[in-house]
């Protein structure tokens, strides 16, 4: 056996080892926003629903830290997170909603069915705020401190175990 004929085998074994190692590693499935620890960008969004106010950046400044929840009536995980947002509301947290690419009738229907945890809902028809704050999908929840800075990003639906975590962070940034 000439050693030269072992080179392909050696290269292959190196690759197989590397690929095998990578398979066992946890893959990062989400892309964290670069906007965390940055001030919330300036925005003014029209109301998503008749009879409720829309949302602007000014709504986040002063008083208590707040939650910014990006959702949509067409989004299934948003149904799953509705009861947990309700619990946060009961804990006295102010949640301002951003409805992405939605229609007023559909928003009203969704809130009738699954409850309304929001004090204000802005309508982001062309995902402009979503893009500006670096959201990678719907739903996402951001902790905004009283100075209007983005302090934390939660990607995906809010679950039962996310609630105490969010409450803790809201307390920390106070």
């Amino acid at each position: 056996m000439r050693p030269i004929y072992l080179i392909p085998l050696a290269l292959f074994l190196f690759f197989a080892g590397l690929a095998g190692y990578q398979l066992t590693q946890e893959k990062m499935q989400t892309i964290p926003s670069q906007m965390v620890e940055q001030p919330l960008p300036e925005f003014t969004l029209a109301p998503a629903l008749e009879g409720m106010p829309g949302a602007t950046r000014a709504d986040f400044v002063g008083g208590q830290p707040r939650l910014l929840n990006i959702w949509a009536s067409w989004c299934l995980p948003c149904i799953a997170e509705a009861p947990h947002l309700e619990r946060l509301k009961e804990e006295g947290v102010e949640i301002i909603g951003i409805a992405v690419r939605d229609r007023p009738e559909a928003v009203a229907d969704f809130l009738d069915r699954y409850g309304n945890p929001y004090t204000k809902i802005g309508s982001d028809d062309i995902s402009e705020l979503m893009l500006e704050i670096g959201a990678s999908g719907v739903p996402e929840t951001y902790v905004i401190d009283a100075d209007g800075n983005i302090r934390y990003q939660h990607i995906g639906d809010v679950r039962a175990d996310t609630v105490p975590q969010l409450l803790e962070i809201l307390e920390d940034v106070r």
């Binding site: 000439r2 392909p8 197989a16 398979l23």
Partner: protein
Amino acid sequence: MIAELGLAALWLSTALAVLQMISGALGLRSGAGAQFAIYARPAAVVQAFLAVLAFFLLLYAFAVTDLSIKLVATNSHSAKPFIYKLTGTWGNHEGSMLLWVGVLALSGGLLAGLERRLPEKTMSATLAVQGFVALGFYSFLLLSSNPFERLPVPAIEGGGLNPLLQDIGLAIHPPTLYVGYVGLSVAFSLAMGALITREVNPNFAKVLRPWVLGAWVFLTFGITAGSYWAYYELGWGGWWFWDPVENASLMPWLAATALLHSVSVLAARDALRTWTIMLGVLAFSMSMLGTFLVRSGVLTSVHAFAVDPERGSFILALLGLYIGGALVIFAMRAGSISEGKRFTATSREGALVFNNVMLSAILAIVLLGTLYPLLTEAFDVRVSVGPPYFNPAGAIFAIPMFLVMAIGPLLRWKDDKPARIQFELAALAAVVIAVIALVAILGDYSVLAVLGLALSIALAIAALLPLRGRNIRRVPVATWGMICAHFGVAVALFGMASESAFTSEKLAAVAPGDSVEVAGWNIEMASVDPVAGPNWTAIEARILAARGDEEPTVLGPQSRNFWSPPQPTSESALITRWDGQLYVVIGDQAGVDANGNNRWQLRVWWKPFVTFIWYGGLLVAFGGILSIAGRVRVDLKRRNAVAMGKVRREDMDALAEGDAIDGANGSSGGSQDGPIPEPAE
């Protein structure tokens, strides 16, 4: 019932693959076991029938939208157009793997049923390897991705299909690539069979060649179709993105291209023996590697496949078993196969070897670029390797390759003097310099694009030079194939270079009534209206595009929103002219203008000669088809001649015996029935 029948057919195929593997392996031994070798061929043929049947049963389940089958329920929808119900069969992981094993079994069956030229032992070894490969994929399908799994309760409605994939491109592009990948598995089995039995010779190369050519034609066609699909469907105006999944299809093609040239050297000159075997193993490893990268999700890609690390582990295990095993056998056996006949550097073989090395180098570059993120992620650094790496690094080897590709076919086999073709060399050099000078005068373009233009024109001329001084009617079909394929490469290269050098682009926010100008085209946005399809809603712009004073053509680019599952896509609109394409995409709403009209993002490109990329690809594939046709025709002729020769010899023998009985002087003169000479390559 359909699902159970399909599953039963798959299990039976699996059992037959085991039989094929064992009887094939027994055929290698001398002694009592050897007689079992006769089962290998029938096992392969029946297996082909059963596996193809299983695929058609799944196709039927998709056609009638049988929502009690999990795969149909998750990937289809009753409201989907019928053609996309059918293409949905292989638009998902399980279905595409079933297609894969179906084609694998079919090619195994064809090989077993038709191929009679190899020594029986080599054939036995080949079928054993083929059975072993098939067995792995059957296990993968049945154990981790059963396409026929039933739901406990039938679904009421299906979950749709990725809307990007709801396109006729999907109907042709992935299955074509699959056939190519799988064809390379036959090349792999043949290479292993020849290596195990030490029968690496021109006869083996002639058996191998049609399989390599066939797989290569399908790969060429699949890559061309895939590139065009990405071009018009993704709406980014690009035709190649160096995405891991694209690279996964390019790498087997590069290996197969190298293999088919080295097979030609082996067939014609009995040289490059170990190298050909190595390429046979490499080509199949690249197709398996592609499958692994695509299905395991170890790399991030724009192609959203259902990725699953568990399936990834399974494919990696198969990869380790087949390729690792093959390389071990290669390391042990390669030394005992002599390198074959010698030749000088300035000969046809020399040029082919040079191009083989260049192709392998490009393959290594693409492979390194594709796997590099895998390597850096092991150290927690996330990188994305893109055109700034691939284009120049690939060009370093592609440019010398194109140069030698122009000259190689003009050289003679074994040994030649460059002086003999000095006129051609000088003419080609003049063309290259003239084009570079001309383009340099015209404007300031990137070096690679200019070199590409010059080389493409020289290559187009050079591709036709082998016809010089020959009687056109007597040129063998296979030679026409080579000329056509090389000319196709020139055409595609011209398209690529022209697109990257001369494309004009415009991005504007326009309200109805506004117009933009690009490269002599006047593009007016007439209106924007909502439209609806069977499972989507969209806004469609009515655009009037005219070049110079001509009558405007109406275009309707759309920005679509599918609702099951919800996903936005953009439908580009194209005007194709002989000298290029106008490419129009409508984007999101972009505020309002001074008069209160809604404005929309409009993106327009004029891409001169961009279509040549795909015309070239088709020409290359067509050249491959011509080549197969020519080879098969010669083989059949030869087979007939041999058969007739045998009949004649038997007649002569009978006659001679008759003469002997008659006691006459035996002067049969049967010496003309020697081996039929091989037609010129």
